[in-house]
Subunit: 232 residues, 2 copies
DNA sequence: GGACGGGATTAGACGCATCTAATTCATAAG
DNA sequence: CTTATGAATTAGATGCGTCTAATCCCGTCC
């Protein structure tokens, strides 16, 4: 039996692999799971013994197929729970994460299946993150870019928003920046501050927030008049 | 923060107090939580240090007011979950227990409240056990007796059925012996085997099962002619 | 190429929940 | 009153996940 703790590490490694690819550094796992580096090192040893990760000393870790499957199952639990809480228990978009984190390790296969059934096997959770299918294959990621990488003039559709910071989430919800909405990038200032136009006005977002918003570009500005180059 | 494990002990002590009153013996806790006696002893020490139980060596343990409140909260979680699973997630009566046991320690106050809300603050779970109210006062137990203590001729209403053995539960469900149904006691044989009449025939239940079914007596046989029965 | 700096690992310890084996206690039987 | 019996406790060890402090390795900078 895998402990909750091990599942948390595997999940962390998975999402880091998703965003930066393997190998995954000890320190980035440590940051994500909020443990010290030596703790992570020893857990990686345990995980490696169990065949859930491979690793080389001083390099980094990488999930095995088995470890990846476990991680994806946890992620499926997490995202199904978030969706269920939002749809059936009146949770708001920004509240679901914590509860799902607490429950994801403790639901049975039966629970997972029934929740998926009553929801109709949804494809994405309230933050826009894809919900892995029951076969636990890695969900196909459609190409998205962080909002922080966009340029002034782009019109973009919000694909997903990191679920890691409740305060940011509440703010974005309030601002009308939710998965599926279209926003126009008004300005990208020095240090990454991004200003976007939404239905009810303009919002300026610090870089840290803009990084956590992933979008698909609907429309790029035409590179035509005076402002073509490394402008502004 | 109280660990899940501590909550389990407190819950166990509470239900044992319910059925036999304090003080609660180390060995009966050990049996219920499926741990060895020394393990229970040391946990009782911990619990006593935290002010959740009082105890005297070689005597037994008793919940403090605080310990009782914790136990009742866990029980509220458990029974709300059982009810929710049965009503909203298509679980059968005999499946809910295990899932509720796994989840009861991990749901938030918010979750508890919302589940109670969508269910309309139910009074009893699918096994007939009373669901503690949000104030966490001990739920008022209406007087019931175990089916094993009934006599031939009694007509009784099933009040609640222990949720501890899935196989028994499935059998009883199939037999039509569920909370709220009325059954007639046909015979009480030596060693406690009880035969009851239900809608679809007669069922013979071993004593262990008959002990776990609590009933209210609707009608006692008049100690008079051979067949006083008020006309079946 | 040698020293430095920062991330990673090893060393060693701790707290918790658990176990088995040995001991102690309460009490029922003689 | 003494002893036997069974329950409860103490003693001592284990596994796990965690920490801090010390050491080690690798890539960079002079």
């Amino acid at each position: 039996m895998l402990s909750d703790v091990m599942e948390d590490y595997l999940k962390a490694i998975y999402v880091i692999e998703e965003e930066s690819g393997p190998p995954v550094a000890t320190s980035s796992i440590a940051e994500r799971v909020e443990k010290t580096a030596p703790t992570v090192t020893s857990m990686l040893d345990t995980l490696a013994e169990r065949g859930l990760v491979t690793r080389e000393k001083y390099e980094g870790a990488e999930l095995t197929a088995e470890g990846r499957t476990v991680a994806i199952e946890v992620l499926r639990h997490h995202r199904l729970l978030e969706t269920y809480l939002a749809e059936r228990l009146d949770y708001s978009w920004d509240e679901v994460h914590e509860e799902a984190d607490a429950l994801e390790h403790h639901i049975s296969e039966a629970f997972e299946r029934r929740v998926a059934d009553v929801l109709g096997e949804p494809a994405a959770d309230p933050h826009g993150d894809p919900i892995p299918s029951p076969d636990l294959e890695p969900p196909g990621g459609e190409a998205t870019v962080p909002l922080s990488a966009c340029e002034a003039g782009d019109r973009v559709v919000v694909a997903r928003v990191s679920d890691r910071d409740d305060a940011d989430l509440a703010y974005l919800d309030d601002a009308g920046v939710t998965p599926g909405t279209t926003v126009a990038v008004v300005d990208v200032a020095p240090f990454g501050m991004v200003t976007v136009a939404v239905d009810d006005g303009e919002q300026s977002l610090p870089e840290s927030v803009a990084e956590s918003i992933h979008v698909t570009v609907a429309d790029t500005p035409e590179p035509d008049s005076a402002e073509t180059g490394a402008g502004a």
